[in-house]
């Protein structure tokens, strides 16, 4: 299966077989990015599964995942290439006594001495790879401008070597936590995808796939509880899918078949990571209150 001729159905089943539950809202933009050979820019709260999409794509097409983790101060040397200065120096030392060699300078700037960083690696890869540029919003705007030039042409110019063109246009996935506004230039070049928190039904499916040891009832109660917390409490940091899974795994370790107030009290730190949020939760609902709400929602659904 090749990204250039995949169809939506194949992509959807590819996602599923790699353990990623995705509806058309996610598969259609990813499919378009693959077919149009454009980067996909994924935004959403931390932990909703943005980075996972890149991993899943690598799994579907059985290819390598090259990851560029962004941070403040990231520059071309760390992202694109760097000359292996130490190795060049050793070479100079070794041939120092053997007299000057005209070709030495040329040799010193050959690909042998080039340290490929993620962007160049992706461009030079012998097959189509997945390039994950994670948390793009953490970089400086200067780097962002450089990046969108690379992403438009998929080629880089190295003064000593000339222009290196990509052999295969990589599948590029950019993730963004929304810490700052990205430039219009970058956004224009991408297919955009926003991933929201999942619906209860979807979250149950995710729990069942990722933590199969959890019983059906436990999965449903955890999903209902998380959904309630996200929509009814004004939390600073809403619990994400990864936190749902952590909670479920912990409850499985406690051999819980259902959500119980006592267990929830012990595990609340896994889903709420801020003291103010924990205080707010205890003040407004509390473990016993949440379990009661979940049970009443459950009985309503059963009646329907």
């Amino acid at each position: 299966m090749q990204p250039e001729n995949i169809n939506i159905e194949q992509l959807r089943s590819g996602f599923e077989s790699n353990g990623y539950i995705a509806e058309d809202e996610i598969t259609v933009p990813v499919y378009l990015a693959l077919r149009l050979e454009k980067p996909v820019l994924i935004t959403g709260a931390p932990g909703v599964g943005k980075t996972e999409i890149a991993k899943v794509l690598a799994g579907i097409f059985k290819t390598d995942l090259i990851r560029l983790q962004c941070y403040e101060g990231l520059d071309e040397n760390k992202a694109l290439y760097e000359w292996n200065y130490q190795r060049q120096l050793i070479k100079i030392q070794l041939i120092r006594d053997s007299g000057s060699d005209e070709s030495m300078e040329r040799n010193l700037f050959s690909s042998e001495y080039l340290l490929e960083r993620p962007l160049l690696k992706a461009i030079q890869a012998p097959k189509k790879v997945v390039l994950l540029i994670d948390e793009i919003d953490k970089t400086d705007e200067e780097f962002e401008a450089f990046l969108f030039e690379v992403l438009s042409d998929f080629q880089v110019s190295i003064p000593e070597l000339g222009t290196l063109k990509s052999r295969h246009i990589p599948m590029v996935v950019l993730t963004n936590n929304g810490e700052r506004e990205l430039s219009d230039g970058l956004k224009r070049r991408c297919v955009f995808l926003f991933i929201d928190f999942p619906s209860v039904e979807k979250e149950i499916r995710i729990i069942r796939v990722k933590v199969p040891e959890a019983g059906e009832r436990l999965a449903e109660e955890v999903a209902l509880a998380m959904n309630y917390m996200r929509h009814n409490l004004e939390l600073k940091k809403k619990p994400s899918i990864s936190e749902t899974l952590d909670l479920t795994r912990a409850l499985v370790l406690y051999e819980a078949a259902r959500l119980e107030p006592e267990l929830l009290r012990k595990t609340v730190n896994l889903i709420l990571k801020d003291k103010d949020d924990i205080d707010l939760f205890n003040r407004q609902v509390g473990p016993a209150g949440l379990v009661e709400i979940v049970r009443s929602q459950q009985s309503k659904t059963q009646k329907i």
């Binding site: 939506i8 058309d24 809202e25 259609v28 933009p29 499919y31 378009l32 077919r35 149009l36 454009k38 820019l41 935004t43 959403g44 403040e72 101060g73 520059d75 200065y85 130490q86 120096l89 030392q93 400086d140 705007e141 200067e142 929304g178 810490e179 700052r180 506004e181 219009d184 956004k187 224009r188 991408c190 297919v191 955009f192 995808l193 926003f194 004004e234 600073k236 003291k275 103010d276």
Partner: protein
């Protein structure tokens, strides 16, 4: 217009632009190419495709979805939209005609704009009668009436402006049928007010109720964080210089016999700006009290070294209130309770003078001052003088003005601020977001 896919897409893009979503030609071409790759009979797939290729901000997605819902709809609904739009247009025409008939002086129509006529038509009958009676009772000999008419028009216009402002303050400003809308799809979208969250963004901050405060606080915090990272990055960038540090390189390479094997780089010390928040809490700004405190609260939560002040006829330092971890409501009650100046008159000049005299160490070349105010102040000359003095010592002054842009031209105070500060209209969360999006800290 023929019903071709290209034409429909072009018209849809036109509507999105009308609604404030920026769509480039390149993105439209991409959308067209994308439509060729999907089954266009599947409405949801078309929606996801157009959303992914035309909308690049999550905040714009609710507007897009409403536009899509109204535009790509069944023919009978389209016909209904068209009919409703036509009816609204006719109604608008009828109201304007009616107002024209009533707003006359000695049988001659007054020269009023369409918006003014519509506003008149929406007034209570009692108020309309008062205006009509005024027109009837004003009488001058026919030879002088020509010169007198513009004065009458001015009076009526002022009265209508008063009613507009009053109704707006009470939240009773009537909807003008079909105003500024030349398209039935746009009219249909205009009737749909959207989700609570998205409408909250466009609500004047002074009208936001207590129930919505937690939501607003969270939105403000998010925006404050964006502002904070933007400020810190901007100054980092301009100072970033990477050069080889020869001294440190030689020192660390002595073990290799002086051959510089490991390079050490010079890096300039990162100087992040200090932020000084100065918020107006005078009587005229009382309605924005919650917004102002939330703004300070939000910024204090994300920027560790921030100094905050409130001012009215004098200046008060409020930084300590926001250093303690307390819920927003408690902070607000404590602050209003202890403040001696809350709700008093405004003297920006005196407040700035206090800032310069008592806190001179806070005013450095790295300081960015953010002022939240409606600019209305006593002793404007002194404010002008003090602003000039402060501007000389700080990096930048930004003014978030809670007055609507159209009122700026009438105010001398705004012009004074504009001489020394970058002034931005800011009375809704959407404004604040727009200000940040414009990347005004470049």
């Amino acid at each position: 217009m023929q019903n071709y896919l290209e034409n429909n897409l072009a018209r849809f893009v036109h509507i999105l632009r009308h609604l404030g979503i920026t769509v480039s030609i390149g993105e439209t071409v991409t959308a067209m190419r994308a439509l060729e790759l999907i089954n266009i009979m599947d409405r949801e797939h078309v929606r996801y495709t157009l959303r992914a290729t035309l909308v690049k901000n999550h905040e714009d997605e609710p507007v897009f979805d409403r536009a899509f819902g109204s535009f790509f709809t069944a023919p009978e609904i389209k016909r209904q939209q068209l009919q409703e739009w036509q009816e609204a247009k006719d109604e608008r025409g009828r109201l304007i005609d009616e107002a024209e008939q009533e707003l006359t002086y000695l049988g001659e129509k007054l020269d009023m704009s369409e918006e003014e006529k519509l506003l008149y038509s929406k007034l209570a009958e009692e108020e309309k009668k008062r205006i009509r009676d005024y027109l009837e009772s004003s009488f001058l000999p026919a030879d002088r009436s020509h010169a007198f008419k513009p004065m009458l028009e001015f009076q009526v216009r002022s009265s209508l402006r008063y009613w507009k402002q009053r109704l707006a303050e009470e939240g009773d400003l009537p909807l003008m049928p079909g105003l500024d809308v030349d398209d039935e799809v746009l009219a249909a979208i205009g009737q749909d007010s959207g989700t609570e969250d998205s409408s909250l963004l466009y609500e004047d901050m002074k009208r936001i109720g207590d129930r919505q405060l937690p939501k607003v606080t969270n939105i403000l915090k998010k925006l404050s964080r964006r502002l904070a990272t933007k400020i810190s990055r901007r100054y980092r960038m301009s100072k970033k210089v990477v050069k080889v540090d020869l001294r440190r390189s030689i020192k660390s390479n002595i073990r290799y016999g002086g051959i510089i094997f490991n390079l050490k780089y010079k890096q300039k010390r990162i100087q992040k700006p200090s932020i000084l928040l100065v918020c107006d809490v005078s009587g005229s700004m009382a309605r924005y009290a919650a917004f102002v405190i939330q703004f300070i609260y939000g910024l204090s939560a994300v920027i560790s070294h921030i100094e905050s002040f409130i001012f009215a006829e004098e200046l008060e330092r409020v930084t300590p209130y926001f250093k303690r971890v307390k819920p927003f409501e408690e902070t607000m009650v404590e602050l209003i309770g202890k403040s001696r100046i809350w709700g008093k008159g405004t003297n920006f000049g005196a407040s700035l003078a206090t800032l310069r005299e008592r806190f001179p160490l806070l005013l450095t070349s790295h300081t960015v001052i953010i002022v939240v105010s409606d600019t209305k102040t006593l002793d404007l000359e002194r404010a002008d003088h003090e602003l000039a003095a402060v501007k000389r010592t700080v990096k930048e002054i930004l003014l978030l003005n809670t007055l609507p842009h159209e009122e700026w031209k009438d105010l001398r105070s705004v012009k004074t601020f504009q001489k020394y500060a970058q002034v931005y209209e800011c009375y809704t969360l959407a404004h604040l977001e727009k200000v940040l999006r414009r990347q005004f800290l470049h």
